[in-house]
Amino acid sequence: MNRYIPVLTSLALAALFSGSVPGADQKAAPESVDYIKWQAAGYAIAKPLGSLTGDPAVGRKLVVDRKKGNCIACHLLPVPEAEFPGTVGPPLVGIAHRLSEGELRLRVVDIKQLFPHSIMPGYYRNPENYINVKKKFRGKTILSPQEVEDIVAWLTTLQ
């Protein structure tokens, strides 16, 4: 059960009160065998998931891919060929100035650790924490560990 270690305990508590953590009435999703555990500390995940190395060129493609990151749906990104960026989230131009690699990783992986009420999906959230997931996606994360690292690698280039 305790595969998932909330370092920011009080924040996790706030999430509990808000109901953004599954209640007892939810059926447990089938356990994902290859889910890589991660730990957040100091508002960041310092180490790459599974010690993988990200490829920024691949990351650049994933952030505009509707079936993958689709970051462009909500964020302004320095990807000029992708038209009509969304305005739901903050612009990510120059984001690497403001956030370290580890801070970016935590935000991509599971932003609800920081902001329990955020609209932003947790792209590598523990699948056990998703509620009422469509069968096709049950027990799965939105992105693979490699895809997370590719995106983080691209984000760190946004100086």
């Binding site: 924040l11 739901v88 009420h117 996606f137």
Partner: protein
């Protein structure tokens, strides 16, 4: 120990959590307000609004007799003129007989089998949506006025809970888009309050009239959530909450929406 930073974060997240319903800043705004002038014109002109084809199809069904020789028109008049717009605008209403709320389409299904003696249709059957569109259009311009007290209360509350509960792999609630980020753009699309006063509505995204429950299914599917069958108890509760949330807005059926 960064206690200051932590408590600041806590306060921010708790503040962000107070997304509770219709405060003074959340006056209901019809999706119409978010349309371009061209689309508004299209909606308002009966001849260019493609939703009126569905209204006409519903009008045709309305006068078509069932096995027992009766049609909707037998009770309600050839053009439905005996139906009171005020009553139409009050749906969903509580049925003492069924001991639960009945949606406008639900009432059409009841008449269909009980009064016309026709074989039951599935909820959101195309003909049922045609009839619902026709009937709701009879109350166009009327302000929505759904009861939320008395026996309706628990159903309203259940629908409200659904609206605020994150769901699916994307882990979003209706309220995230349609309350917290109204006016922001999701790619090229402006997020509206998701008011229900135009339903059944003609969607430019799929070029046909869509029922409210179809729209619930589409939204849930987008969130990678397990969506339900049209007419489910959860969707009926959500319809109660949604229409009540639109109380005071004028019915625009058939509206045009993205």
């Amino acid at each position: 120990m960064p206690t200051g930073k932590l408590s600041l974060l806590l306060v921010t997240s708790l503040l962000a959590g107070t997304v509770s319903g219709a405060g003074p800043g959340n006056k209901p705004r019809s999706g119409y307000e978010f349309l371009s002038p061209e689309t508004r014109d299209m909606q308002e002109d009966e001849f260019s609004n493609p939703g009126f084809q569905t209204v006409d199809e519903g009008a045709e069904l309305f006068i078509t007799a069932g096995e027992n020789g009766k049609s909707c028109a037998s009770c309600h008049g050839d053009r439905g003129q005996k139906l009171k717009p005020r009553n139409i605008a009050s749906y969903p209403v509580y049925s003492e007989q069924l001991e639960k709320p009945v949606t406008l389409q639900g009432q059409i299904h009841r008449c269909w089998t009980e009064r016309l003696g026709k074989p039951a249709m599935k909820y959101d059957n195309k003909d049922a949506i045609r009839l619902e569109t026709f009937v709701r259009n009879l109350a166009e311009g009327r302000r929505i006025d759904v009861e939320t007290g008395g026996p309706m209360r628990p159903y309203y509350e259940a629908g409200r809970e659904f609206f605020y509960k994150p769901t699916g792999q994307l882990d979003m609630a209706c309220a995230h888009c349609h309350e917290q980020y109204v006016g922001a753009r999701l790619r090229a699309q402006v997020l509206t309050q998701g008011q229900s006063n135009g339903f059944p509505t003609y969607r430019l995204a799929n070029n046909r009239v869509n029922s409210l429950h179809e729209r619930f299914r589409q939204c849930q599917n987008l969130l990678r959530a397990q969506f339900q069958k049209a007419g489910s108890d959860d969707y009926i509760n959500l319809e109660v909450f949604m229409h009540a949330r639109s109380n005071g807005l004028r019915i625009e059926t058939p509206a045009i929406r993205f």
